[in-house]
Symmetry: C2
Subunit: 162 residues, 2 copies
DNA sequence: TATAGTCAATTGCACGTGCAACTATATCAC
DNA sequence: GTGATATAGTTGCACGTGCAATTGACTATA
């Protein structure tokens, strides 16, 4: 599966192919995510992180999730999520509800206002993702990528639809 | 090139294929970069951002670059780079040199200590990148990716070898 | 030359984040 | 039940970052 020479005895530099595959990945992510973030803020006052959290809530069964679970899904620390939910709550997009059966726990619940704001944002965001990324990939390329991320052991956990 | 239906009339959700290609990308980047960052800090006390800046300096002709150019290469704001170079300078890995012929400008110059630290870090980092990413891709897949990032209009600017 | 306008880099400030410490609740052993 | 331990979530603090304002130096026009 490795490309050129023996698996372990490699040079201390990347060859041009490796370079293109790796640094292109980094660069593409950096540019794409900053553009999408800016776009979402401009159009809906919603940073990408907040969008992501609303996404998980919106697409969950009851529109609610435990704080810890939400943090894990959104790839955020618990304290990071605490603060983010603070902000969303201040905007009325989410509220905290104490968890029946475990007085330690809290559910973050998306409000009707949250759903409405999210629906609008999703439209913008999807359009942006398609225009900049998915729309420039053939179906085969999409398949290759999806399979590849899966193999790298990071996809397929619990990704709601977008 | 788009996958299923007509280019503009799309649903307001991603189909499973799109989902895998897009969210896998996000997830893979998040996980990979945080692991690589932690690894580099643990082994060499060097955050990934600092590593990147040293990389550009180390691989440039004279081991020096203008602040603005370096900021652009490292995808950092100017103020962000100012502060990062402050830190590197405090550690003796870089120094500022006023720019001959333009008294407004400064060159960031990598020091011998900087080169030494970077060389060690590069070894670790390359090993990490190969183990987690490049080593799990076939040569064909690497080629596909490289070409794809290129097409997405973000690669190929000025990426030194790693 | 003066003066106006531009450009390079830095600084003040606010913000989002993670880690470690903390509080409150739950669970387990006895 | 009682005490030790674990778990959920929040808070104090420090850090890295970007934006806007600032300082100092170059450039063009008169």
């Amino acid at each position: 599966m490795p490309s050129t020479t023996s698996p372990s005895a490699r040079s201390d530099q990347l060859d041009p192919l490796e370079l293109g595959a790796w640094r292109g990945f980094l660069r593409t992510h950096a540019l794409l995510s900053s553009e999408l973030d800016a776009e979402l803020i401009a159009a809906h006052g919603l940073p990408l992180r907040s969008y992501e959290v609303l996404l998980f809530l919106n697409d969950s069964r009851a529109g609610e999730m435990r704080m810890a679970e939400l943090a894990q899904s959104a790839l955020l620390s618990r304290s990071g999520l605490t603060r983010l939910v603070d902000r969303l709550e201040r905007e009325g997009l989410v509220r905290r509800e104490s968890c029946p059966g475990d007085a330690r726990g809290l559910n973050a619940v998306i409000t009707p206002a949250g759903r409405k704001r999210f629906a609008a944002a999703r439209h913008t965001h999807l359009e942006g993702v398609r225009r900049r990324f998915l729309g420039r990939l053939s179906e085969d390329e999409q398949r290759t990528l999806a399979e590849l991320w899966e193999r790298l052991g990071s996809a397929g956990h619990d990704s709601p639809a977008c």
